[in-house]
């Protein structure tokens, strides 16, 4: 390989057919005289602009369309050299760092010698060693192209905002499960908003036997084993549900606040008393109707109960998870849109409450397709205010444009699977920790189950890895009508 050009932080390197380099590979451009080396990543592979190639190709196509047939008697065997030159490729590489005295700096301000520099491939293990991508809490994400393991440190997810995105069926949920079970393994508390009920069986292996996580997976299904009593709720949480999930207008909200305080003073804070208080309320008819309709929504959700004994599971689960680590799976499958929002509002309020009171140290929150249940104002709340309280979110989506741009800008880690659509890639490329060309070029060609890992977990060295398999009953597969048709 030969260094051809450097423009900004982009290197162009001529590579010959025997030196196979592909997108995602790392190269070490070493200038021994300068005592420095550039670490660059291949983001595109093009044909080198070899002069005369067009003529070479054209002369085999005479008028009439059929390729010219013939024999080349090449006694000196020049033809392989012609092919060698013709197939030379141009590697477009992004400079990621400068290596000097075994120290990495994110600089690309110096120019290595074009004639004297040596260029060689940098293996992922070597890169990880140089970039110190290791740690005491390893999570093996998968295997890289050169058969090395991509291992990240669990502490690099701690306190961070993460996004897992890619098109449908490429393995996003699988990766989130992998991260999740590894975090549980390190005694972390994980809360999952499970939209499709696919995290509920993580305590089982593929052949339905109990695995090591069985006792740590707590599945809460709203209106079944997950209910709340009004007297367990803080007024702010209920107001959040009414205003944000049920869109209660301001005047009615004020009236509700008054009713709530009145019932609380009387020690009668339950659904039945609340219903009666609204019915007997002496106020504007419209306000009473508004409150009555919201009350019925709460009743119909089945999420609220007057039995305090049936409303303790979330607290119990959080308590268990705090001691030994565990995942609280909020199963939102078969839950209506409004009910989902009620449950999420309640859960987030509860978590904030627990964290504020130091009942919990921190929580890793995994949210699948969060736009379906998270109100707009909550996004910023989660990534700014709640982060300081100890809620570290991981958003999982196949529609990257449903996540606000501000979220991308603040994302610390992005786990990017294949996207074909340019618009989707444009959205993801707004993340501040990646450069747009890398995202557009590499993510476009990622095979299924391969993930481009970007950000803090890989010390800002984007690395492609095939996400490793898990012996878990994942239940994330799409149900197919014609699945067994081929067997018959």
């Amino acid at each position: 390989m030969k260094l051809y050009k450097k423009e900004g932080n982009v290197l162009q390197i001529i590579s010959f057919p025997t030196e196979c380099a592909e997108k995602g590979d790392y190269l070490l451009v070493e200038d021994q005289e300068a005592g420095k080396a550039l670490i660059a990543q291949v983001i595109d592979v093009q044909f080198a602009a070899v002069p005369g190639v067009l003529e070479e190709l054209l002369r085999t196509l005479p008028d009439g369309g059929e390729p010219l047939q013939g024999e080349d008697i090449d006694p000196m065997e020049i033809a392989p050299h012609i092919t060698y030159i013709q197939d030379a490729s141009l590697l477009i590489c992004k400079i990621r760092a400068t290596l000097e005295n075994d120290m990495l700096t994110p600089s690309s301000s110096w120019l290595p010698s074009r004639s004297q520099s040596t260029i060689k491939k940098l293996s992922v293990p070597m890169l990880m060693k140089l970039a110190k991508i290791d740690g005491k809490l390893p999570i093996v994400l998968g295997g890289t192209k050169d058969a090395a393991l991509l291992t990240i440190d669990a502490s690099s997810i701690d306190g961070t905002l993460n996004i897992i995105t890619g098109k449908k069926g490429c393995g996003k949920s699988h990766l989130s499960k992998l991260l999740m079970v590894n975090l549980i393994g390190y005694k972390a508390v994980v809360v999952i908003f499970d939209l499709n009920g696919e995290y509920t069986s993580l305590g089982l292996t593929n052949d339905c036997k109990r695995n090591a996580y069985y006792d740590k997976i707590h599945t809460l299904t709203p209106s079944q084993n997950f209910k709340v009593a009004l007297d367990q709720l803080h007024l702010n949480t209920v107001m959040g549900i009414l205003v944000n999930a049920l869109h209660l207008p301001g005047t009615s909200a004020r009236e509700f606040r008054r009713i709530w305080k009145m019932l609380k003073e009387k020690g009668k804070l339950n659904m039945q008393e609340l219903g009666e208080a609204i019915r007997d309320l002496n106020c504007n008819q419209h306000v009473r109707d508004a409150l009555a309709s919201r009350f019925h929504s709460l009743v119909n959700s089945g999420f609220f109960t007057d039995s305090p004994g049936g409303a303790t599971l979330l607290d119990e689960s959080l308590l268990k998870a705090r001691e030994q680590g565990g995942a609280i799976v909020i199963n939102l499958k078969n839950t209506s849109n409004i009910d989902r929002q009620i449950v999420v509002e309640y859960t987030l309020g509860k978590l904030v409450d627990s964290l504020s009171n130091w009942k919990l140290k921190a929580v890793f929150l995994f949210a699948e397709e969060a736009h379906l249940y998270l109100r707009e104002t909550y996004w910023d709340d989660i990534v700014t205010r709640m982060r300081h309280l100890g809620i570290f979110a991981t958003f999982i989506t196949n529609q990257p444009d449903t996540i606000q741009e501000t979220i991308y800008r603040q994302a610390d880690n992005i786990f990017l699977f294949n996207f074909t659509n340019e618009h989707d890639l444009d959205v993801v490329s707004r993340a501040s920790r990646v450069d747009a060309e890398t995202v557009r070029s590499i993510a476009h060609d990622l095979p299924p189950h391969h993930c481009l890992t970007l950000g803090k977990v890989v010390s800002d060295f984007p690395i492609v890895a095939r996400v490793r398999a898990l012996d878990l009953k994942t239940m994330g597969e799409t149900r197919l009508f014609f699945k067994d048709a081929g067997a018959n």
């Binding site: 002069p51 002369r59 006694p75 065997e77």
Partner: protein, 359 residues
């Protein structure tokens, strides 16, 4: 005697053992011999393609162009059309000489399909020390010993690329003349002989061989300097619908240059181009006409030039990619290092210096 030190390995694949392949064998042998002498030297990049110029075409003043065109019609009787052309290029210079590459191509059209055989490239390092050995060995390999003594005085280094290409071209023409039966053989250039590159006897033998095999040689010149009444013969086209031939008279050259053909101007289609066409003198007039008509009926034309001959030229020409590959080959196999010394013309005259080859 140095040549005997070389053993040609069997991996080199030459075609048809029935034809005389001594010349390409010697080409390879001499190529390897010459390159062995240049190992671990520096090479100044300076490639230059040589055109086969008609240096001997001093036009006789007596040329006349018959004004009445000979009308021709395509004859679609299945006839093999074959053409040959060679090309040479100077790859660069070493401290002691030059590195050149030579290649030839034969193209033929049969059953509506074009096919080709390319021979080469052969790469030579020509120095003052080895030029005699290389040239005379190749001459001797092709030419019978009877004529060998004539050419012991080998050309200067700068003429060598053309001489080597001419040798290969004549050998390939001979092979076509020997193997094509009742066909049309197209040469690039004229049928002028008696020059150092084309001894009369050699061209006579080629034409004779073709005639014995009932084939006819047609030689097309891309450019000519022949003038009638002071005007180029290819620019005196009558207002007559093509295709047609214009006959010339009075084309005689000073000895030892001998023209072995009769000169015509051929305008083969409506494109406003015409070319000088030489047809073997010994061929009866009727057969000449028949040959051109068969050519018209069996080949394609663009700009009034036979496609078979155009393909031969295209196939043997060295592209920039091939030049790079040849440099790669000599660097890898023979340890010659490329150096890029500044072009003094460019250095001294800046944008007014157009390079050494234009100086």
């Amino acid at each position: 005697m140095v040549i005997e030190q070389y053993t040609i390995t069997n991996k080199y694949n030459f075609p048809q053992p029935t034809i005389d392949t001594s010349l390409p064998w010697r080409f390879l042998e001499q190529s390897l011999y010459s390159l062995k002498q240049v190992q671990h030297q520096d090479l100044q990049l300076n490639h230059q393609t040589f055109q086969q110029l008609s240096v001997t075409e001093q036009y006789p003043s007596s040329i006349q162009l018959k004004p009445q065109p000979i009308q021709i019609k395509p004859d679609r009787q299945e006839t093999l059309i074959a053409a040959v052309d060679t090309s040479t290029i100077k790859i660069g210079e070493t401290a002691t000489g030059i590195i050149v590459a030579v290649r030839g191509a034969i193209t033929w059209r049969q059953n509506q399909t074009y096919k080709y055989t390319r021979l080469g490239p052969f790469i030579f390092h020509i120095t003052e020390d080895n030029k005699n050995t290389v040239y005379n060995t190749l001459e001797h390999a092709y030419f019978s010993t009877t004529y060998g003594s004539m050419h012991t005085a080998s050309p200067n280094i700068m003429q060598m690329p053309m001489r080597l290409a001419s040798l290969l071209e004549r050998w390939m023409q001979t092979m076509l003349a020997k193997t094509v039966i009742r066909g049309i053989i197209l040469f690039d250039g004229s049928l002028i002989s008696g020059t150092i590159e084309t001894p009369t006897q050699r061209l006579r033998e080629i034409l004779g061989c073709a005639r014995r095999n009932s084939s006819i040689v047609l030689a097309f010149s891309k450019a000519t300097t022949l003038r009638a009444n002071g005007i180029l013969i290819t620019e005196q086209l009558p207002s007559h619908d093509p295709p047609y031939l214009l006959e010339t008279t009075g084309v005689h050259f000073k000895p030892p240059t001998i023209l072995l053909g009769d000169v015509y101007v051929a305008r083969l289609n409506k494109a406003n181009f015409a070319f000088r066409l030489d047809i073997d003198k010994e061929t009866p007039a009727e057969q000449r006409l028949e040959a051109v008509q068969k050519l018209l009926g069996n080949d394609l034309y663009k700009q009034s030039y036979p496609e078979t001959l155009r393909l031969s030229h295209i196939l043997c020409t060295f592209t920039a990619n091939e030049v790079l590959a040849i440099k790669h080959f000599i660097t890898r196999k023979h340890g010659i290092q490329m150096v890029n010394r500044p072009d003094m013309h460019r250095l001294l005259f800046g944008p007014f210096g157009k390079g050494e080859i234009y100086a």
